[in-house]
């Protein structure tokens, strides 16, 4: 079994070491990872290994909030979600869907499923990134992450917000729980009112955001120069900005010289050491997982060789099918690329830590705000153009319709 494959492929460099070590690293790197023994049992399709693997897959495939909930759903429900998620991912083996949901068997198939997920993507890294501790004042420069990271996050949050894949503003479909009976009609004026309310909320949001910026950036400037002229922030009417202030006042404090000043999160750690202890614990836990992941990366070759050896072969299909798959894959890739061309690769993505720096400082440390501003401006222009086009389309269509009516004169509103 596994123990016989010691010292596999020393020459390969990575993947040197034993299989048990690799599996142990994997077990430590995974959130609620099962014991190495469970993995081995699963390879032999032992039934007792199944429940742990169902649980692991549920944890991996479900959102952060669910995974961290105090009361995870019943094992059957977990199993159902795992099956549905894997089907949605395109898991190729039909055997999984046929497994009983009570966890009585199927550990080998579940191990295959886990390995499949691990092989396709850098799963461990993504799992860790999902719950990564954010020590800085982070700002997302794209919309991909949705609402959760839309604002500047300054509160030390050991269980960071879930990065939902909801398109911004897309409501949940089939929402009966709004209190609307199925027969309720609304007047169009209600719709107008809701739109107006939305506009107002956005304006509110913009002004709150401006204040947050200013307060935060105060943390980051040299003492002496600014300290005297900035007064402590007052209620929202003041143009002072929180973030800016925080950055300003703690200039020079950070042990990491490339950063130079503290973030609001870090300052909060100092202000409230007790409350921030949890943050430290989470950080240390994350470090443990990270270290295990690094070790796994070094040793995983052994694991893959073990898995490949265990798969059943299907000689009748192999070569011809592989050739077919490759050709089709290439064709599809080319086609896809044709549409992807339209996307703007220059748009920066993801989360960044905000750092205040001197205006003339050499670039290369990170993304410059001016650059992002430029990209955002052009994105804004594109979106505005798109909106205008849609509105223009509506205008033309309605004008055509109304113009055809006898007995009425339709005077459209002036085009902006």
């Amino acid at each position: 079994m596994g123990r016989q494959r010691r010292r596999v492929d020393r020459a390969a460099g990575a993947g040197s070491g034993t299989l048990p070590e690799a599996i142990a690293a994997l077990s430590r790197a995974l959130p609620c990872g099962p014991s190495p023994e469970t993995f081995r049992r699963a390879k032999f399709d032992r039934p007792e290994a199944a429940p742990a693997l169902w649980q692991l897959l549920f944890r991996v495939l479900s959102p952060v909030s669910e995974a961290g909930a105090t009361a995870p759903p019943a094992p059957e429900a977990q199993a159902r979600l795992v099956k549905a998620a894997l089907r949605s991912e395109g898991y190729p083996r039909p055997a999984l869907a046929q497994l009983p949901e009570d966890g009585s068997r199927g550990s080998r198939e579940l191990l295959l499923a886990l390995s499949w997920l691990l092989a396709r993507r850098p799963l461990l890294e993504r799992l860790l990134a999902r719950t990564r501790v954010r020590l800085g004042d982070e700002v997302a420069v794209c919309e991909c992450l949705g609402v959760s990271t839309g604002c500047l996050g300054t509160e030390p949050d050991p269980c960071p917000l879930q990065c939902e894949d909801l398109a911004f503003g897309r409501a949940n479909t089939g929402l009966p729980a709004l209190g609307l009976g199925s027969e309720l009609h609304v007047d169009i004026r209600h719709v107008q009112w809701l739109m107006g309310k939305l506009r107002f909320q956005w304006r509110n949001l913009v002004s709150t955001q401006q204040e947050q910026c200013a307060l935060l950036s105060k943390v980051a400037l040299e003492d002496g120069t600014w300290g005297r002229c900035c007064c402590l922030p007052l209620p929202p009417a003041q143009p002072g900005s929180t973030l800016f202030q925080i950055h300003l006042y703690t200039w020079g404090c950070h042990s990491d010289q490339s950063l130079g000043h503290l973030s609001a999160t870090e300052t909060e750690v100092l202000r409230d050491p007790e409350g921030s202890q949890q943050l430290l614990q989470v950080l240390e836990q994350e470090n443990a997982h990270l270290a295990a992941t690094v070790e796994w990366r070094r040793r995983e070759l052994v694991f893959w060789q073990w898995m490949v050896r265990g798969q059943s072969r299907d000689p009748a299909w192999s070569s011809a099918l592989r050739a077919l798959q490759e050709t089709v894959g290439q064709e599809l890739a080319a086609l896809r690329w044709a549409w992807d061309q339209g996307r703007d690769p220059a748009q920066p993505h993801g989360l960044y830590r905000l750092v205040r720096s001197e205006p003339g400082a050499p670039a290369g440390r990170g993304l410059q705000a001016a650059e992002v501003i430029g990209a955002l401006r052009s994105k804004e222009a594109c979106l505005e153009a798109a909106l205008r086009q849609l509105q223009g389309q509506c205008r033309r269509e309605l004008a055509r319709l109304m113009g055809a009516l006898p007995g009425f004169v339709w005077i459209s509103s002036p085009v902006r």
Partner: protein, 432 residues
Amino acid sequence: MLPADCSRRLVAELRGALDACAERQRQLERSLRVSRRLLRAWEPAATPAAEPTLGPEAKGEHLSPACTPSSQDLKELELLTQALEKAARVRKGISKAGGDKAPVPKSGSTVTPVTTTPSHLQAPGQADGRVSETSPPRGICQTKAPTKGHPERRLLSSEDRISWGRGARATRPGPGLRDQQTAPPAAQQAPEAFTLKEKGTLLQLPMAFRKAASQNSRLWAQISSTQTSDSADATTTAKTQFLQKMQTASGPHGPGLSAAEVEAELGRLQEACSLLRLRMEEEVAAAPVDWKQELRCLFTLEGLQALAGQCLCRLQELRAAVAEQQLGPWPVGGSRSTLSPCGAGADPARGPRLLLYSSTQELQTLVALRLQVAMLTQQIHLEKVLMAELLPLVHTQGRWGPRELSLCRAVHSLLCDAGERFPTVLQDEPTG
């Protein structure tokens, strides 16, 4: 009144948008509360550790980046500090009244964090003049001084400065305490609250924290580098082999697409579709004045038709793939963030990515633009939803009475002017 299902969908959509906006507001206000609290005077009992620089190198001047010690230096300082503690203990044992200040150079400036040490040993009152300028954080250490076991160690150990897990908040020495160990608290009672503005530059994060944070960034960097190492080739080959075997074992299916990929592709096709349609409308609406323009128009339309054909083909392929693989939708309540790349940055292991700004205005502009883009994205989405729901209603109006006209005006206002302006309808009364 709008029909029931239309009402339901519209209201659901708009409520969703309002909820998302409200959620942003909530998060923002939470951050704002935290920030404002940081900028106010910090409560004495819960003051920060304006962490003492360890050992004799008491930096009275604020810590400038240039003299930030490396981790190696910090370790050495820690050892040195321990040696000093021991010396102090010995000395204390020799002279009970302990009028001697610990051999800590005080550079005479406002903060010599290590003055806390001497305060432990001094006769009461001596530390006042100096300590009163230090912020109440001294208080924390002092309150811990009485604890048995390791008083001095606690005072000087940077980790314990922050009193992780100790009730440093809780105890504020009473006014009357004037003994050796609690001298500084007397000074602390002078309500010299800690403010970030005045003393922010003196802050230093606790050792434990710094260690954990630097280990954290080191490990993330390591993960990123292992992914790009040469030895990854053998691993990649093994993985590909594994995946292929998984695929072939299930029969003659094409390369597996996931539902997420299909959906993303559909999104692109939808965008392609609307772009094509818009362009076509423009061409159709334009009135060519000469044969050249007309020809150009024709060529454009033919090109658009070809592109549309391609999209249709692709759509059929996707449909076939979904049917064959029996791809289901992502389960409700699930999150694809683990498996989709832009979760927390396309390459999460690429270390802390920095966004550098140089003035408040720049930061505000950046953030305002970001919000603007988000808002426009939402607006475009809502526009499409409204178009899909309301235009058919207008088209299917039977009669044209005042109610239908006012509906039309409202629809026009919503769809064409984002609700800001209204068109005018005049009834053309035949005269006479």
